[in-house]
Amino acid sequence: MNIQKLRDEAKRALNRKEVKYLIGYQKGSYGFRVSPAFIESKEEVDRLIFSPLCALSLANYLMLEEKLPQSEDKKKAKATKIALFARGCDSRALNQIIAEKGIPRDELYIIGIPCKGVIDLKKIEARFPGVVDFAEVVEKNGNYIVTIKEQIFEVPKEELVADTCKVCQYPTPLIYNKLIGDNVEGYPANYDEIHSLEEKTLEEKWDFWQKEFDSCIRCYACKNSCPLCYCEGCVLDKLTPQWVRRSVDSSENLLFHITRTFHLAGRCISCGECERVCPMDIPLMKLNRKMEKEVKELFNYEAGKDPVSQTLLTTFNLEDPEDFIL
């Protein structure tokens, strides 16, 4: 993927008078970090980067409450669109949000980027601890070439790539205005780790999840980083009535996560942000991928396939399974 082509496309997008601003990636503040970039004018496009370190989901920013202040000339031009970079998972998030009428399609200008997988920050910081200077990573022939100051290291991709990317089915965006880069083949559906947990006994499963939720500090990072968690009056925050108490113990934490997982059933697009941001390393993707597997097997439904499909729980099929019903 040619970074110059990406920047040129960003420039073209910002030139369009109906585009308010562009959301992309830029270098972070130290080491291996990458930060979101909010660019209003085409002079700033050289800040934009795209590398295996770009692990954020930019689709999340569309639904955060306030938008960038518009410059006067954009306001005059009645700019209504937001341009953004979207990888495969981001594009599915956008499809799902559009299908749910969260944001109209014509308010988006999507620059699609087929993604070969992103690096897990925890893994690379463990491999190269204490790196404060800006580091760069490119992918070449199944390896990551890591450049720190003038030193160059070659690490097999397997060691650093995020676990979510190892089972990604849709790395090439499914919705875009412009596609920059070559098509990337996805992996076939793989739910092996879900199977291994399903095969455990009920007590073992309970003990496993109890231990995980014991360490949850209810920071709400999973909820806030999820592109599909955008309800203004989230049930988990409500005080009248209060479903989840503010006190933090395993039982309340369990309720929090059961509710969030259930509300994401048929909507989660497996970007893996929740697991990436969790400061306590709770394997949240196990829950979400279990629901993904269930909705595929039971209802033949996949989230985010296109922007006009019906959503899972507002529709039904006359032949839905009902062997569990007395």
């Binding site: 972070g28 503040s29 130290y30 080491g31 970090r33 990458v34 930060s35 979101p36 909010f38 954020l56 999340n60 920013y61 955060l64 409450e65 306030e66 960038l68 202040p69 925890k122 910081e125 463990a126 601890p129 204490g130 790196v131 404060v132 360490s215 500090i217 209810r218 920071c219 709400y220 990072a221 909820k223 806030n224 980083s225 925050d237 108490r245 503010r246 006190s247 933090v248 113990d249 942000e273 990436r276 941001v277 400061p279 306590m280 390393d281």
Partner: protein, 338 residues
């Protein structure tokens, strides 16, 4: 007050022998470290790679029951009588400093018995920071990886021993109780520790000059820079929950049928509903105002009210922020503002 050494492989014995105390220590939990009352000393973890360790939980727990009530009886305040004295073991000097920042808040006009009960009964045993973390900047806020206040004992990890410095009478009591395991330190060991203290300070990679920031902040309350700095913030609570000096809390009543209890729980100024009024008005409606509030609180209001900067430079907010909102980068940007 005395310098001693403890053989490294005797650390578990040292802590186990203090069974009349309730010992809080870092505990390995999968890939992260929790800070809790330690039951099995095999799980003790001083290798704090992940750095989440929330040491303020020992004096300011995330959930604290204030009192219970029942329709048929008078409210029952939580019994604050502690059955055992507490030892808080394995905190870094920056975390210890944070206790000094929390003290004036909870000791104010109306002293908080819940906090003070835990704090005054606690003996603080710190571990000096010989390998500062990536984003540590304690030296920029008046701290030091080997600082002693307000610890009672300071451990330094040397090659085969822990070098123990006794700082207060409380600390001396602990050494007296474990005298069979500790030996007096030699002058060589003392020299080693001094050398380490010196080297460690030079290992701090990130620095920021905080001079004139409070004055700068006075003038830029309405500046558009706040909106710009907060654009990438997603409003989760990670920075505030892992910050050792953050102390905002909410008080909620939890009831069921005829019974209930009142709890104090951590709250975060980064949540939207933090300043949401019952009328629906929110004086801090956007992330810009909330980020501004956090920076003002730590780098201006704390200085105005208590005379010290309200940050210990532990760097957790920088390391753990999922979207790379970097405090040092933000403070530099503020300094550049006209």
């Amino acid at each position: 007050m005395g310098f001693f050494v403890l053989q490294k492989d005797k650390l578990n014995d040292f802590l186990a022998s203090l069974e009349e105390y309730e010992v809080w220590a870092p505990v390995q939990n999968g890939t992260t470290t929790l800070f809790e009352v330690i039951k099995d000393f095999q799980n003790l973890s001083l290798d704090l790679k992940h750095q989440v360790l929330i040491s303020k939980s020992a004096v300011f727990p995330q959930t604290e029951s204030l009192f219970t009530f029942d329709r048929n009886a008078h409210p029952q305040a939580t019994n604050l009588e502690k059955k055992k004295e507490t030892i808080i073991f394995g905190i870094r000097p920056c975390d210890a400093q944070s206790f000094q920042l929390l003290d004036p808040v909870f000791e104010g006009d109306i002293p908080d018995p819940y906090y003070l009960n835990r704090r005054n009964n606690a003996i603080l045993i710190g571990i000096a920071c010989s390998e500062p973390f990536l984003n540590c900047f304690c030296t920029s806020v008046g701290g030091n990886p080997f600082s002693k206040e307000p610890l009672d004992l300071l451990f330094t990890e040397l090659d085969s021993v822990f070098y123990i410095e006794v700082i207060t009478e409380k600390g001396k009591k602990i050494i007296d109780k474990t005298s069979t395991l500790c030996a007096p330190a030699s002058s060589d060991e003392r020299k080693q520790k001094e050398q380490m203290a010196h080297t460690s300070e030079s290992k701090i990679k990130r620095k920021i000059d905080l001079n004139h920031i409070p004055e700068k902040l006075t003038g830029i309350f309405e500046h558009p820079i706040w909106k710009k700095l907060a654009m990438k913030c997603i409003g989760c609570g990670i920075c505030t929950y892992t910050c050792p000096t953050c102390y905002c809390f909410d008080i909620q009543d939890e009831t069921r049928a005829r019974k209930g209890r009142r709890v104090r729980v951590w709250d975060s100024c980064m949540f939207t509903e933090y300043t949401l009024h019952a009328s629906g008005h929110n004086p801090r409606p956007t992330r810009g105002e909330r980020l501004r509030n956090r920076i003002y609180h730590k780098f201006k209001f704390n200085i105005d009210n208590f005379g010290v900067v309200g940050c210990v430079g532990c760097g957790r907010c920088i390391t753990l922020c999922p979207v790379n909102v970097d405090l040092i980068e933000n403070l530099s940007a503020i300094k550049e503002v006209e």
